[in-house]
């Protein structure tokens, strides 16, 4: 039983303190937030632009300065408006964090694979764990996110479809090469579901653990609207997820195959 039955949890409207244009389609927003001990990489917040509201993974958890960040990719009217029109001094409403993040205690070496803006979900891991190596993948050099963010002691394998920066090819190809070394005992990932599903398959093939962040249409973020429930187990992406472990993924029949839209109708990948 939880204690805060009666807490008000309407969006907390905050002023954007800093923005970073990461790529021509990706932008980071940083805002003040009380970073409590229970905020963990892989969790998300509901972001209200004072009109619409969408779930966004947390990309910056800055305990020292009490700042939080989100990193969005232009993918529709909401994110296009945020990219094009929202800047320092503008107000956004944040509620959360919600959901269940990555749990990497006890692993020897973690391979974290971020496809495009999926790296946003993984980046905070590097300040919570010291055994994480990243793959940051995108279509081309211009679209690589967080190029300048990581300390020199963080291992980042860059990867582009066209080879314009780092490994040439898909992130999953690079991941497989690295897994073949046998150094990693868990693979975590966030990105397009086709990538995530391939990572899941790799985790089976190379017999390593696996934790993947999934993305589903969300309304409440509170575990009750049912919009983000995943077949076949009915697990809620907003509560039991967004990061699922290998045992859970094995039961998710819809993973890699389909999702549901705002009405709850099935949309195939």
């Amino acid at each position: 039983m939880i204690e805060n039955v009666y807490d008000d949890e309407v969006p907390n409207v905050v002023e954007i303190k800093e923005t970073i244009i990461e790529t021509p389609t990706v932008k980071t927003f940083i805002f003040p937030w009380n970073i409590t001990d229970d905020i963990h990489p892989g969790q998300f917040v509901m972001v209200w632009d004072l009109h619409n509201e969408k779930p966004m993974t947390i990309s910056i958890i800055d305990r020292e300065n009490n700042l939080m960040g989100i990193t969005i990719r232009k993918a529709g009217p909401f994110t296009e408006n945020m990219y094009d029109n929202m800047d320092v001094g503008d107000l956004i409403g944040i509620r959360g964090p919600y959901g269940h993040g990555y749990e990497l205690d006890g692993y020897k070496k973690v391979l974290a694979v971020g496809g495009g803006s999926g790296i946003a979900s993984l980046a905070p891991l590097t300040s919570f764990y010291d055994n994480v190596e990243l793959i940051s993948a995108s279509s081309c050099a211009d679209e690589l996110v967080f190029n300048k963010r990581f300390d020199s002691d963080v291992v980042v394998h860059k990867c582009t479809d066209d080879g314009s920066c780092g490994f040439k090819g898909f992130s999953t190809q690079l991941a497989e090469e690295l897994l073949q070394t046998g150094e990693y005992d868990v693979i975590v990932g966030c990105g397009p579901e086709i990538m995530s599903y391939k990572l899941y398959e790799l985790s089976i093939k190379y017999d390593v653990d696996c934790q993947l962040a999934l993305d589903r249409y969300m309304k409440c973020g509170l575990g009750i609207c049912g919009q983000c429930c995943i077949d076949d187990t009915g697990l809620r992406v907003c509560v039991e997820g967004p990061v699922f472990n290998k045992n859970q993924l094995r039961e998710l029949g819809e993973f890699g195959k389909y999702r549901r839209d705002a009405s709850g109708s099935i949309v195939k990948y």
């Binding site: 039983m1 939880i2 039955v5 009666y6 807490d7 008000d8 949890e9 309407v10 969006p11 409207v13 509901m46 209200w48 004072l50 009109h51 619409n52 509201e53 969408k54 107000l91 409403g93 509620r95 309304k219 409440c220 509170l222 575990g223 009750i224 609207c225 049912g226 919009q227 429930c229 995943i230 077949d231 076949d232 187990t233 009915g234 697990l235 809620r236 509560v239 549901r260 839209d261 705002a262 009405s263 709850g264 109708s265 099935i266």
Partner: protein
């Protein structure tokens, strides 16, 4: 201890999943059945698919949530597939389909297309955030309510019809009586309250995209109990009590007030789906410790005290 047979449903316990909470997909409803629900009410659906309102649609507030999902749902064709997929649980966990529409024809059409896959229908004539012509536009009006219920009863002979009522009327017993007179087999009390409004104190902006939203959760319990108590003294058909049930003590209040069955929704936010097992366990213990043989003994008990 908690078994009952009502509307032809053999129930292991009186705790149903309420309409609108989870209930979109078969897998989410199976998950709730595994968590111990005595029965399931699906999220409301109609003929056509409906995206509902833009977010924010559900926000947690003091004492519950404010919600204007707006009857988001896949259309009856897609929903029928989800319902078929629920057949495997129906012997142990009856399934009630919550349906909505803006005319007698739509209600009957949706019911006809799905009646082979459900144990009862719950007519949602009370959603406070439906678009004009749907939801509480019907349930605020005794004549409209009567007409819809009569028509569905005429068309659907072999599946019980439950009517879910809105508390946001001057006198709920008037609507309850209209529904009973029209042939309703049971009533569900209550749909969400208000609707209500919350405004961001910094920007003056209403928080919900739809401005207003129905209030649900523990804070509406006293209103729901009033509606159950008064309606119990007005009609003779069984009542589902719903509104803020979070513990076995809440469940007891509803049973005493006259609800034969109960529905749980928003409190899943606080307690998780395991709320069904927890309340079932605590309620059984309470009844046993107090010398009751069956939950039926306490239904309406508040009405029979000196």
């Amino acid at each position: 201890m908690l078994e009952q047979e009502i509307l032809g449903m053999k129930l292991s316990n009186p705790l149903f999943l309420a309409a609108g909470i989870l209930g979109t997909t078969a897998s989410s409803m199976k998950m709730v059945a595994r968590a111990g629900a005595g029965g399931i009410v699906t999220k409301s659906f109609s003929i056509e698919a409906n995206d509902g309102y833009d977010n924010p649609t559900i926000v947690k507030i003091e004492g519950g949530v404010i919600n204007s999902v707006g009857l988001a749902s896949p259309g009856v064709e897609a929903k029928k597939e989800e319902l078929k997929d629920l057949n495997e649980i129906r012997d142990k966990t009856p399934v009630i389909a919550s349906i909505y529409g803006d005319s007698e024809e739509v209600f009957s059409d949706v019911a006809n297309q799905t009646k082979d896959y459900v144990d009862a229908f719950e007519l949602n004539v009370s959603c406070p955030h439906a678009k004009c012509g749907f939801g509480s536009n019907i349930g605020e009006n005794p004549e409209l309510t009567h007409d819809i219920v009569s028509s569905v009863k005429d068309n659907i002979k072999d599946v019980p019809i439950i009517v879910k009522l809105t508390p946001n009327v001057t006198d709920i017993t008037e609507i309850a009586k209209a529904a009973e007179d029209a042939g309703a087999d049971a009533l569900t009390l209550i749909n969400s309250v208000g609707p209500g409004l919350r405004i961001d104190y910094k920007t003056a902006r209403p928080i919900l995209n739809n401005v207003f939203g129905g209030i649900a959760g523990p804070m509406i319990k006293p209103i729901a109990l009033k509606c159950v108590y008064k309606t119990y003294e007005t009609v003779d058909i069984p009542l589902f009590g719903v509104g803020g049930i979070r513990t076995y003590k809440d469940a007891l209040e509803f049973l005493y007030a006259g609800a034969s069955l109960l529905q749980i929704g928003t409190s899943i936010m606080y307690e998780g789906p395991e709320i069904f097992k927890n309340i079932t366990h605590d309620l059984s213990n309470f009844l046993e410790e107090n010398g009751y043989k069956n939950v039926e003994e306490i239904i309406g008990l508040s009405h029979n005290l000196g």
